[in-house]
Structures are given as C-alpha cells and as structure tokens.
C-alpha cells in the first residue's frame, strides 16, 4: 500500500476504535487515535516480519505494547491484518472476550505480553531481545510506550540494561502526545529534556512527526541498520488526532465517547477517508 492509501486506512482504524469504545462504554481514545498512523503503518505497511496465519512463529518480530491502554488500536490493526476475525472487535472489555481492557499475553494472536500497569512491557521487551541475542536469532523487538509512562522508574532501569547489553535488536517507540490522566505531561511530572535523557541513556534518538508515515518508515528503517546502539523513536503526535473535539484535550485520555459524540467523530473520520477531496470509500 502507498502512504496515501495507508493514511486512509489509518482513519478507518480510528473509526473502528471509536466504535469499539462506544460499544464498550469505557476505554482510552486519545492515545489510540493519536498513534493510529504508526500502528497502521507498522502492521499494514510491511515494516515488521509477522504472519497472521502463524502468529507464534519463533522467528517473528516481537511487538510489545508496554502502554496497555493503547490496546484498542492494536486490536483493530491486528484484526485488519488478519490475526483474528474483525467481528470480535465489538467484544472489547466485555465478559468472555479475548479483547481484555488491558491486553493479556497470548490470550489473542499477536498479543506478546501483558500490560496495563505501566513500565512493565519495556522490561519484557528487553528480556525478549536478550533471549534473541543468546539464541542468535535475527528477529527484532519493537516496544511501544506512552510518554506519561516514562514517569515509571522501571522504565529507566530497563533503559540502563538496554545500554549495558547494547541491544540494537530492540527499537523503542515513545508516543510523545504530551498528555496523561491528570493533565499535560510537563505539568504532571515533566519529562523534558526527553531527547537528551534518552541519548544519555545510550539510545540513538530519532524525533519524528507521528502523523507523517514517510518519516516514521524512514526512522524505523534507520533503526534496523543502526548496530552501534539501540534506537528510540519519539513520535510527536496529537492525542485524539482527526476527531476535532478530542484533539489535544487530556480529558479524552480515558473516557469513551457517548452516542452523539460517536456520530460526530465518525462523520469527521468519514470525511477524511478521501484523497484529493474525492470520496474513495463510502
């Protein structure tokens, strides 16, 4: 798929996320919408070695979602990629569902780790990268984190161990959307200068516009050929992206839309499923 097609796809994924959340009645829209471009590109743009028909193949790339509350967007792209039937998406957060409110390792094809209590996924990802190194495996480990998650001490413990073992087979991706539950990250617990901190902890840092797929792809490819050190990609994103009333409002971190809001959001996303003003998918 070309980037323009993938961008359209990303808005379909966003719409899917909105539908899942309204159906569930609870959940976290802001981060999921903000990072939809990244997730769509990652799974549908061929950036990783995966096979939905053989989801646990031992040579697969590992995608570790450390910020578990982003899971609606991960579930949506996994379903789109064919890991499980799309009909299952509406079971999010419901009883007897494989789509838990926060992901549980291997409960669903494609879910590598359990997360939701923040800071744990990065350590799991480091363990996977270490094991791959021991076994001389060539697969890569990609760990996705929130920026608020960087508050957790465990994250910085993990970074120290990444540097110690020079795990260039690990790429971390931080969604820098500047919000967390209680407000803006720089008010709640300042992270800046984040880039300098990550560099000081031994990462090659690439800052990208998280809504520019070309930039994201370039950064991910750069990480693959950087062997001297692990790479940290800081995705600058707009929380709630492409749903006007959600954008940049931290109140939408952990609140599902109501019926009226859902209609409005879907209309906005529908409008965006166009190329050069021409509706391509009605």
């Amino acid at each position: 798929m070309r980037f323009s097609d993938l961008e359209v796809k990303a808005n379909e994924i966003r719409a899917e996320v909105i539908k899942m959340l309204v159906e569930a009645g609870t959940g976290h829209p802001a981060g999921a919408l903000g990072s939809a471009d990244f997730w769509t590109l990652l799974y549908l743009g061929g950036l990783i070695k995966i096979n939905p028909q053989d989801p646990w193949n031992e040579d697969r790339d590992r995608v570790v979602l450390s910020a578990g509350h982003y899971c609606p967007v991960l579930y949506a792209v996994l379903a789109e990629a064919g890991f499980f039937p799309k009909e299952e998406l509406s079971s999010l957060r419901k009883i007897d569902s494989r789509l838990q409110g926060h992901p549980v390792a291997r409960m669903l094809p494609g879910i590598e780790n359990s997360s939701g209590t923040l800071g744990q996924g990065i350590s799991v990802a480091v363990g996977m990268a270490l094991a791959a190194r021991m076994d001389k495996k060539k697969h890569r480990v990609i760990c996705f984190m929130g920026d608020g998650e960087q508050n957790e001490g465990q994250v910085w413990e993990a970074y120290m161990s990444v540097a110690k073992y020079k795990l260039s087979n690990l790429t971390i991706v931080i969604d820098r959307n500047n919000i967390q539950i209680d407000g803006h990250t720089e008010d709640v617990m300042p992270l800046e200068p984040l880039e300098e901190k990550l560099k000081a902890f031994g990462f090659a840092v690439i800052e990208v516009d998280g809504h520019n797929m070309e930039e994201i792809e370039k950064a991910m490819n750069r990480a693959k050929v950087t062997f001297e050190k692990p790479t940290a990609i800081v995705l600058h994103t707009i929380p709630g992206k492409n749903v006007d009333f959600m954008e940049n409002d931290y109140a939408w971190h952990g609140r599902a839309p109501g019926m009226g809001e859902t209609v409005q959001a879907l209309m906005e996303l529908h409008k965006l499923r166009t190329l050069d003003g021409k509706i391509i998918n009605d």
């Binding site: 031992e58 570790v64 549980v104 390792a105 291997r106 409960m107 590598e112 780790n113 359990s114 997360s115 939701g116 209590t117 800071g119 744990q120 996924g121 990065i122 350590s123 799991v124 990802a125 480091v126 363990g127 996977m128 990268a129 270490l130 094991a131 791959a132 021991m134 076994d135 001490g153 465990q154 413990e157 993990a158 120290m160 161990s161």
Partner: protein, 325 residues
C-alpha cells in the same frame, strides 16, 4: 517414631550443618549443564546466592542487572516468553518484596515460566536489621494465582527442589534461609512438590513446619517423647498445600501446631488454618513472627527473642495438650 520411609539421617546427634544456598548454587550449575534453557538473573547479590560458580561456567547465561529488582522480573518474563527458563535471584525482602507487581502481571497472570528464588529469608540478614529480613514473602506469593510456593527444609532438600522447580512449567517462588543448619534429609529422601512429608509419626499432636522450623519441630518432638507423641510433618510446599496430608494427620491427632520462620499471617499457619477450618476444624496454635518486625542481632539470638525455636513449639504443644485434659 522417626518415619523410616523418609530415609532421613541415621545419627541425629551428629548432624552436618550446611547452608541451603550451597545446595542451590551447586544444583544450578549441574542443572544448567543438562538444560541449556536455564538462565540466571541476579540483582547485585551473586555471591550471597552462591551463583559465582554458575557465572564462571556459564557467563553468557548469567544476566547481572545491578540493583534493579523490578526490571529483573520483567526481563525474566520476556526471556520465559522466548522459551528460556529464567531463575530470578535476590534476597526475599527485595524479590518478591520489591517487584511483586511485576511478578503479578508479567509472570503470574499468564502462568509465565519464571522461577523466583528468595535468599536470606526470615532472620537470614540478622544484623542488617528489619529492612533486610523477610517474614512476608510467602504471604504475598501465596496469594497470587498460578503461583507455587516452596520452603524446603535443608541443603539436600533444596538441591532436589531446584530440579523439580525447573521441570515444572509455570511460576514458582522458593525461599531459602541463610544460616548453616542441620541436614536431616539425605540423597535418598523422596521429594515431590505438593507432597508433605511425615518426618516423625505420633498420635497426640501434629506439628506442621517448613524451612528452618522443621528441625526445631523435630527437637521438640524428641524432647517430649514419652509424654507426648508428636507427629512432625515437613510442609515444604506451602502452595499447593497437601490438603490430604494435613487433614489426615489432624484427624489422627486432633490437635495442630504450625511453625515457620515467617509471619503467622499469610504463610504456612494461615494455609493450614484455612484447610482445617473448611475440612476438619481442630484446636490449633501458630508459631512464627507475631505480626511484628525484626531488629538487628545474630539470627540465632533473634530466633530466640522472637520465639522461633523448639521451646516455643513445646510451649504451644503443652497449651493444646493441657487444654484437652
């Protein structure tokens, strides 16, 4: 009467004292030679856990994380998800003390194959004071679903336990106390996770003990022999508790004492009380730390001061026996 089926040592007057951790360190090396999946994670306490030999022989399979218990547990979870059999090592007060939440989510939630070894449990770090001692570790691990909790009694038993822990697919917590203590079991003493062992048969009262307190219970039984016939049961597996053995012995004697180098809340005493309460209620007393922290001192002095000796077991036995008369 000593239970001869257990193949315990013959000469109880000359028991060899050995630290559990020596058995652990030796077994880890032997095991790693046989199974390449075994890896060790350590948080800056290599020698304390007797893993220096392991490091010498398998440097590439030893992950030293420094003073990072939380990260260590997560790393182990990731390695287990990649097919390794990771052993996570530290003092019990730090692991599972400090990384309990990582144990809960990254390990137990999906029965991830991580083995947690808590060294210097109880009064092991005597002179270091309360903050390095651990009387809560069995309580906080026992409450986690999918978890198996072990407190073996001596050097030989630890050696056997390590192999069984490795062979089992799922999370295990095993605690070890520090001081060199009397070895009661031999190479031919049976060991099976989840199977309590009657070390001494008696008809008047049952003492369920684990770890260092098994020997104290044996001493108490010996001292009372002739007046009270004490049954001593080594409950090396706290979870899953051998319900059948507990109820069987309680049925036989009608009186129960538990003994552990751990809080009386949440550990062996609680586990036995839960089982008896539901299945066969009998009068019961618990020996252990009585909802209190420790302090600095030599382990032996502290054991005396806080009532973790044969004398306390005898006292509790007498309370129950006299009540009955």
């Amino acid at each position: 009467m000593i239970n001869h089926e257990m193949n315990l040592v013959e000469d109880w007057n000359n028991l060899e004292k050995r630290p559990m951790r020596d058995g652990y360190g030796e077994a880890m090396v032997e095991m790693a030679r046989k199974n390449t999946k075994v890896v060790v994670l350590i948080a800056d306490l290599l020698e304390s856990l007797k893993l220096d030999e392991f490091k010498k022989e398998f440097p590439e399979r030893l992950i030293e994380v420094g003073i990072q218990e939380q990260n260590m547990m997560g790393l182990a979870a990731g390695m287990a998800l990649s097919g390794k059999i990771p052993f996570v090592n530290s003092f019990a007060c730090f692991s599972p003390g400090r990384n309990w939440e990582q144990l809960r989510i990254s390990v137990c939630l999906t029965k991830n194959n991580v083995k947690v070894i808590g060294g210097h449990a109880g009064f092991g770090n005597g002179t270091d004071g309360a903050n390095q001692q651990s009387f809560e570790d069995m309580a906080i691990t026992r409450v986690l679903p999918n978890m198996i909790v072990l407190a073996p009694a001596d050097y030989e038993q630890i050696k056997k336990a390590v192999w069984r822990v490795m062979a089992l697919d799922g999370p295990v917590y095993m605690r070890m106390t520090k001081p060199a203590r009397e070895g009661m079991t031999t190479r031919t003493t049976p060991f099976e996770i989840g199977k309590a062992q009657v070390f001494r048969e008696g008809k008047d009262i049952s003492v369920f003990a684990c770890g260092s307190m098994v020997y104290e219970a044996m001493l108490a039984a010996k001292e009372l022999a002739g007046t009270v016939e004490v049954e001593v049961i080594n409950v090396h597996t706290i979870k899953p508790l051998d319900t059948e053995a507990v109820v069987k012995s309680a049925r036989k004697t009608g009186k129960v004492v538990t003994a552990e180098e751990h809080s009386i809340i949440g550990g062996l005493g609680s586990a036995v009380a839960e089982v008896l309460g539901e299945n066969y209620p009998v009068p019961m007393r618990r020996v252990g730390m009585r909802d209190t922290f420790g302090e600095s001192g030599e382990p032996e002095e502290l054991m005396k001061k806080y009532g973790l000796t044969k004398n306390e077991i005898i006292k509790e036995i007498k309370i129950l026996v006299n009540k009955n008369e």
